[in-house]
């Protein structure tokens, strides 16, 4: 017994040692190479003025004389708002699609199934480029559609009245809140792609609830709808929440495809920063830190919800 314990500790120590040695070697190699090129590591550059503009700042004031740190913050806010909205919407849409796929109506089931298969099997990037091109084909700001008073839809995005009414000045709408077409395309593509995944998770979780549960509920006199709501869904939720968390995390990471259509997310801003300053390693580290933090935050939220679910479930 004791010998086995010793062997295990030894094995772990060895593994740890190898990882530490690899990290040390990587670090040393990087430093030597940087020194050879007269480059230095450090995050001081973050305080320097960025000297570039950001088109879509998500409401955060930003001017080109602001620092790189602030520019990165704007990018982070852009990533966060896409990820948050995307997560909520894809779960809602995915849930509805998942339930509809189990409908008794054959035609409805077929339509939903083909929609889901189409969205799930189209590469996300393709979907993104397609949506961006579609939104670019909207009318120009001068000929903007006005579905509601004060709401303008054009190839510059959706201008909504918030605090004041948007109005056209020269080339673009000023005032109100403007959702850029890039934001809309990115959100749309992420939601379509991930909602399809979520619908499969939902369908699987519902089908995973034993058939006998429904039979028992019906035998107790519950209607089919009530049986579904009070018996099936609560049990299915437990099975799906950890998977939904994974879906949210991957949506957050996939939002970095924003670069392809010109949405200034944190990756886009960090790319520009790296290019202007040459601090590729530092920006890469920031990028890793950002995505790790975002993923952990999303996972933590979902885990807490899951824990609550398990507690009330028993």
């Amino acid at each position: 017994m004791r010998a086995r314990w010793n062997a295990r500790v030894l094995g772990q120590a060895l593994a740890l040692g190898i990882v530490a040695a690899a990290l040390w070697w990587l670090g040393r190699n990087t430093r030597t190479n940087l020194e050879q090129r007269g480059l230095s590591l450090g995050f001081d550059f973050l305080a320097n003025p960025a000297n570039f503009d950001i088109g879509d700042t998500g409401g955060l004031p930003f001017r080109s004389e602001n620092s790189f740190a602030r520019a990165i913050l704007v990018g982070l806010v852009n990533t966060a708002r896409v990820a948050a909205a995307g997560c909520v919407l894809s779960i809602v849409v995915g849930f509805v699609l998942g339930v509809l796929r189990l409908s008794h109506n054959r035609a409805l089931r077929g339509v939903v199934r083909s929609a889901v298969e189409l969205m799930r099997n189209t590469p996300l990037l393709l979907l993104l480029l397609f949506l961006a091109a579609t939104l670019h084909a909207m009318p120009s700001p001068r000929n903007a559609l006005q579905p509601l008073p004060g709401v303008f839809l054009s190839d510059r995005g959706l201008a909504l009245p918030l605090f004041d009414r948007p109005h056209l000045v020269g080339f673009n709408f000023v005032g109100g809140m403007v959702l850029s077409p890039e934001f809309a395309a990115l959100l749309g593509a992420l939601v379509m792609h991930h909602a399809a995944h979520v619908s499969e998770i939902v369908r699987g979780a519902i089908l995973g609830v034993p058939r006998a549960q429904i039979d028992a509920a019906v035998a107790l006199g519950l209607s089919r709808g009530k049986a579904f709501r009070f018996v099936v869904i609560p049990q299915a939720l437990r099975a799906m929440v950890p998977l939904l968390a994974t879906a949210c995390v991957s949506l957050t990471k996939n939002s970095s495809l924003a670069v392809a259509i010109g949405f200034p997310d944190v990756v886009s801003v960090l790319n520009t920063t790296a290019n202007q300053t040459g601090h590729s390693i530092e920006t890469m580290l920031i990028m890793i830190g950002v995505y790790l933090t975002l993923s952990l935050v999303v996972a933590a939220f979902m885990n807490r919800y899951n824990a609550r679910l398990l507690r009330t479930g028993t």
Partner: protein, 355 residues
């Protein structure tokens, strides 16, 4: 050694895109093997051992494009070929590595290529902060705007409030912000990863204008479905001296590149073209004879063939010929020489003497 390289590759992959990946490091400095692209004289040695010059380019009409048969052509490509001719007397001994604006400097730093000939502007921060050398300026350019004629914009300052598409990873974003601040106007930039995206956005009306280097605008205009509906505004909001980019630490390679890039300009100054280079070699003019490598001790350093200048002109022609063939009025780009005329004709092209 092989195992060590494999490890390094893994580390490079782990740190993908980071400038720290290199062909060699402190450990190999002692031997400085032929394949190592670092240190004094190492680049030329590596080029000779490989049997080809590795040239980082960026695809673009007129500057670097593959033709129907897959052969690379263009202004930048011709300068890469000039290097191959000077070293190997064979214009096919080049390996062209296409980069996006984003990847180019990491590609050069990591030793993937021997130099960049891809429209990079010479700037102080790239030289002083990022440790790059620049060869001679072989193209003078400036950033401008391309806008649809229907917007009735004649000057850049009228673009206040406009949405402007730019390509990521260039000085374009900075120049745009500077220009806006200088003139008290605002732009909404939409930053695209590649040019195609920016062009589509302009064509679709998402952007009111595209901002790029003048040469880039001429290329971009040819990519639009109706080029005649777009106009390049006359303003130039920045100075873009385009020069080959090299790593620090190999003076010999820098000088080889310097003089190979100057040779076509010198040839134009002498009035020597592809067609006349053979007869020029019969000339009794001592400066022409020196330039064409007919006098010893002028062009034969570093183990180069003394006749390399002759070979370069015979293969790619003089600067004017390279320009006219790839960018001039007879090409789809239809560019004027402008600042790129010889200094004797009011331009900035000037070669130091070959003697």
């Amino acid at each position: 050694m092989t195992a060590l390289r494999a490890h390094r590759l893994v580390a490079c992959l782990a740190l993908a895109g980071i400038a720290a990946c290199s062909g060699g490091e402190a450990g190999d400095a002692a031997g400085a093997p032929a394949g190592d692209a670092r240190g004094q004289g190492a680049t030329l040695r590596a080029v000779r051992a490989r049997g080809a010059v590795k040239c980082g380019i960026t695809q673009g009409a007129g500057f670097a494009t593959a033709d129907d048969s897959g052969r690379w052509r263009g202004f930048d490509v011709d300068f890469c070929r000039a290097l191959a001719v000077a070293i190997f007397d064979d214009s096919s001994k080049v390996q062209l590595v296409p980069y996006t604006q984003q990847q180019r400097f990491a590609g050069l730093q990591s030793g993937d290529v021997d130099l960049l000939v891809n429209g990079s502007s010479m700037t102080s921060s790239r030289a002083l902060e990022r440790s790059f050398h620049f060869g001679p300026v072989y193209f003078y350019d400036g950033q401008g705007f391309l806008a649809p004629k229907s917007s009735k914009v004649a000057r850049a300052a009228q673009l206040d409030g406009a949405t402007v598409c730019v390509q990521q990873g260039t000085t374009t974003e900075l120049n745009l912000a500077d220009f806006a601040r200088r003139n008290g106007i605002t732009f909404k930039p939409v930053v695209m990863e590649d040019l195609r995206g920016a062009v589509d956005a302009l064509a679709g009306g998402r952007c009111d204008a595209i901002s790029q280097d003048g040469a880039g605008l001429a290329t971009t205009r040819t990519m639009l479905r109706n080029p005649n509906e777009y106009v390049i505004l006359p303003d130039r909001i920045s100075k873009e001296p385009i020069a080959p980019v090299l790593r620090f630490g190999d003076d010999q390679w820098l000088e080889v590149v310097n003089w190979v890039f100057r040779a076509p300009v010198a040839a134009e100054e002498f009035g020597i073209s592809r067609a006349t280079v053979a007869s020029a070699a019969q000339s009794s003019d001592p400066s022409v004879r020196r330039f064409l490598g007919l006098e010893p001790g002028i062009t034969d350093g570093f183990g180069l063939n003394a006749r390399w200048t002759y070979n370069v002109i015979a293969a790619v022609g003089n600067y004017g010929e390279i320009f006219e063939r790839n960018l001039g009025p007879k090409t789809p780009l239809g560019m004027e020489r402008g600042l790129n005329k010889l200094w004797t004709e009011g331009g900035l092209m000037y070669s130091p003497p070959f003697r």
